[in-house]
C-alpha cells in the first residue's frame, strides 16, 4: 500500500546523493574530496559487514582480508601492460592484460567472494569467539601470502603508481548498490532467515532454515562488497601494500557496525560517516601536537562507552521510521 511512497523516498535520496556528488566535485578541494571518497568506501565496508555480522551474527574480523584480495586483483588487472613487465613476473596472459577499472573491480569482488566460499566451508562450522579468532587467522594468512608472493604482488613493497581512477562517480553508485542489496535482504524472507540465525541458530534450524548454507551466503555477500571496496581503495590511494588492510582496519569496521547497531543499515551508514570523519579531524591534530594514535584511542573510548551505556548501538536493529513502509516497521 505504501510501497510507492517508499520507492519515492528512496528515489529522492538517490537523486539527492547525485546532486551532492555533483556539487562537492565542483566546489571543494582535492583533499576534502578524497576524504569524502574514503567516507563512501567506509560506508560500503560497514554496510556490507553488517550483512555478515549484523544480520547473521557471524563475528567476522576477516573483512580487510577480502578487501586485500579485491584490491590486489583489481590493481593487477588495471596496471598498464608496459609497467607490469618491469615490476612483476606474471604468466603471459596476465602480463598482457590491461582492463578498464569497472570490470576489473567486479572481478576483484568476485575473487573475494570465491575466497569467502573456500574459507567459509571449514570456518563457518565454528561459532562465536572461535569464529572471530578463525577469521583473524584468515586475515593474517592473506597478509603473509601477499607479503611472500613476490612475483605477483612485489611482496612488502606493494604495488604503487596505480592509475588514480577512483572518484565519487565510482564510489557513490557502489554505495547505492551496497545499501540497496542490504536493504532488500533485510526486509525479505531471505533476510529474516539470516536474522533468525543470529537470534537462535538451533531454533532457526528446527524451523527449516539451512544454517550452513545461509551462513556461508552471508559471508560471501559481505566479502564481495569488501573486494569492491578494496579495488576502490587501491585506486584512490594509488598504492597497495600488504599492510594496507590490517587488523586495525577490521577493528574500525567492526566498531562502525557495533556503534551503529548490529543489524541496522542506517546505523552502519551513519557510524561509518562519523568515524571516518573523526579520524580525519584527528589527523592534523596528531601531526601538529606530535601525538599519534589519538584517533584510535578516541574511537576505542567511544566503543567502550557505547558498549556500557547503549550495547544495542545507536539504532539497535531498526531503521528510522520515515524509510519504512507501514508493514515493514
Amino acid at each position: 500500500m505504501n510501497q510507492s511512497r517508499n520507492r519515492l523516498v528512496f528515489l529522492a535520496l538517490i537523486l539527492l546523493g547525485i546532486g551532492f556528488v555533483a556539487l562537492v566535485r565542483s566546489t571543494v578541494n582535492e583533499y576534502i574530496l578524497s576524504i569524502i571518497n574514503f567516507v563512501g568506501i567506509y560506508i560500503i565496508l560497514a554496510v556490507s559487514l553488517n550483512i555478515t555480522n549484523g544480520f547473521t551474527g557471524l563475528f567476522s574480523l576477516g573483512h580487510p582480508g577480502f578487501m586485500a584480495i579485491g584490491g590486489y586483483v583489481t590493481a593487477i588487472l588495471t596496471f598498464p601492460v608496459s609497467r607490469k613487465s618491469m615490476f612483476l613476473e606474471l604468466p603471459q596472459w596476465l602480463a598482457n592484460l590491461e582492463m578498464p577499472f569497472f570490470p576489473a573491480s567486479i572481478i576483484g569482488g568476485v575473487c573475494a567472494a570465491m575466497m569467502a566460499l573456500v574459507v567459509g566451508l571449514p570456518v563457518l562450522r565454528l561459532r562465536g569467539h572461535y569464529l572471530a579468532v578463525a577469521t583473524l587467522g584468515f586475515l593474517i594468512i592473506v597478509q603473509v601470502l601477499i607479503t611472500n608472493w613476490d612475483s605477483v604482488t612485489r611482496g612488502p613493497l606493494g604495488l604503487n603508481g596505480l592509475p588514480a581512477i577512483t572518484n565519487l562517480w565510482y564510489v557513490y553508485p557502489w554505495v547505492v548498490v551496497t545499501v540497496y542489496v542490504a536493504w532488500k535482504i533485510k526486509f525479505s524472507s531471505y533476510g529474516r532467515s539470516m536474522l533468525s540465525i543470529r537470534e537462535d541458530d538451533m531454533a532457526a534450524q528446527c524451523l527449516g532454515v539451512n544454517l550452513f548454507r545461509t551462513r556461508v551466503a552471508a559471508l560471501v555477500i559481505g566479502a564481495f562488497f569488501a573486494g569492491i571496496a578494496g579495488g576502490l581503495w587501491a585506486h584512490l590511494v594509488t598504492a597497495i601494500t600488504p599492510t594496507s588492510f590490517s587488523l586495525i582496519l577490521a577493528f574500525y569496521i567492526v566498531v562502525m557496525v557495533v556503534v551503529g547497531g548490529a543489524g541496522s543499515i542506517s546505523g552502519a551508514f551513519i557510524a561509518a560517516i562519523i568515524f571516518s570523519v573523526l579520524t580525519e579531524i584527528f589527523r592534523p591534530l596528531e601531526e601538529n601536537l606530535d601525538v599519534y594514535g589519538i584517533g584510535e584511542i578516541f574511537t576505542a573510548a567511544i566503543l567502550i562507552l557505547i558498549l556500557i551505556y547503549r550495547p544495542q548501538g545507536l539504532f539497535g536493529s531498526r531503521e528510522p521510521g520515515f524509510l519504512l513502509t507501514r508493514d515493514t516497521q
Binding site: 532488500k184 525479505s188 536474522l195 537462535d200 527449516g208 539497535g316
Partner: protein, 267 residues
C-alpha cells in the same frame, strides 16, 4: 485423518550415549496420524533427548527413525522440518529481537521463501510469496490470538505469550507432527488453562498429530490419548492415561516406594 492402521512416526531401538553415559536405550514408539501422545518421566529420564533425536538436533548411536515411510535417522533438523516435523523447546527459544509476526514469518521461509537472487531482482514470484507469507502469518496470529501484539518485539512479552508465539511459529512450518517440549513449564495455572485450550484447538482444527513431553500430570492426563513413561533412559510403561496412572512401576519411579505416589500421580 488417514486410516488408523497407517503409522506416521515409527521409532525402533533408539539409543543415545553421551561419553559413557547412556541417556536413552532401546526406545520405541509408534504414532498414528491424528494421535495426541504424551511422554512423561522424572527429571533426567531422557525425555528431551528423545525430542532432540526426533527433530535431528542429536544423532542416535543406534536405532532407526521412520517418518511418513521415510528413514530420517540421519537427517538434519532443517530437513526434518521440511518433511513436516516441528518442535518447541523446553526453555523457550523465540527470536527475541524480532517482532511477533516476523517470528512467524521466519517459519514460512522453508515453504515459500526465495533465495538471494530472486530477492534482489524483486521478481514477481518473490513479490507473490512475500504477500502470501504476510497473509498466512495473519491467519496464524489470528488463530493464536496474537494479532493485537504482532509488531511487538518478542522479548517484551510475558512468558506465557512467548510460549504461544513459539507454538504459533512451529505451526507456521505446516507440520504433520508437532513435538512440544514441556509447553507448560514456567506457566501459571491460568496460562496453563489457556495452553490446553490452544492445544485442543490446533488438534481439532488441523487433525494434527502431537507428541508432548510434560511434567504437569494433570495436563497430560487430560489431553493425551496415550502415554509413554520413561525413566533413566529406559521405557517404563505405556498405555492409556488410566493404565499409566495405576502402574505401580510409574508411581515408584516418581516417588520411590511410598503410598503418596498414587495421590501425586492422580494430580
Amino acid at each position: 485423518m488417514a486410516s488408523s492402521n497407517s503409522v506416521l512416526l515409527k521409532v525402533e531401538g533408539l539409543e543415545k550415549r553421551f561419553g559413557g553415559i547412556i541417556a536413552l536405550a532401546d526406545y520405541d514408539v509408534e504414532i498414528r496420524p491424528g494421535e495426541l501422545v504424551g511422554l512423561i518421566g522424572p527429571n533426567g529420564a531422557g525425555k528431551t533427548t528423545v525430542f532432540n533425536l526426533l527433530s535431528g538436533v542429536l544423532k542416535p548411536n543406534q536405532g532407526r527413525i521412520v517418518f511418513n515411510g521415510q528413514d530420517i535417522t540421519r537427517l538434519r533438523p532443517d530437513q526434518n522440518a521440511a518433511l513436516g516435523i516441528a518442535r518447541t523447546f523446553q526453555n523457550i527459544r523465540i527470536f527475541k529481537e524480532l517482532s511477533v509476526i516476523d517470528n512467524v514469518k521466519v517459519a514460512f521461509h522453508i515453504r515459500m521463501g526465495h533465495g538471494f537472487w530472486k530477492t534482489l531482482m524483486h521478481t514477481s514470484d518473490y513479490r507473490y510469496s512475500e504477500n502470501e507469507m504476510e497473509q498466512k502469518s495473519h491467519e496464524i496470529l489470528e488463530l493464536f490470538d496474537l494479532e493485537a501484539i504482532k509488531d511487538q518485539p518478542a522479548k517484551n512479552l510475558p512468558y506465557g505469550i512467548q510460549r504461544r508465539v513459539e507454538i504459533a511459529r512451529a505451526m507456521a512450518t505446516m507440520p504433520k507432527l508437532l513435538l512440544l517440549d514441556e509447553p507448560s513449564a514456567g506457566l501459571n495455572t491460568g496460562e496453563t488453562d489457556e495452553l490446553v485450550k490452544t492445544l485442543r484447538k490446533i488438534h481439532d482444527t488441523y487433525g494434527l498429530t502431537i507428541f508432548i513431553v510434560e511434567h504437569d500430570m494433570k495436563l497430560i492426563m487430560t489431553i493425551c490419548q496415550r502415554i509413554q513413561v520413561i525413566d533413566r533412559g529406559r521405557m517404563l510403561s505405556t498405555g492409556t492415561p488410566e493404565d499409566v496412572r495405576h502402574d505401580q512401576r510409574v508411581i515408584e519411579a516418581y516417588l520411590g516406594k511410598s503410598g503418596h505416589g498414587k495421590q501425586y500421580a492422580q494430580g
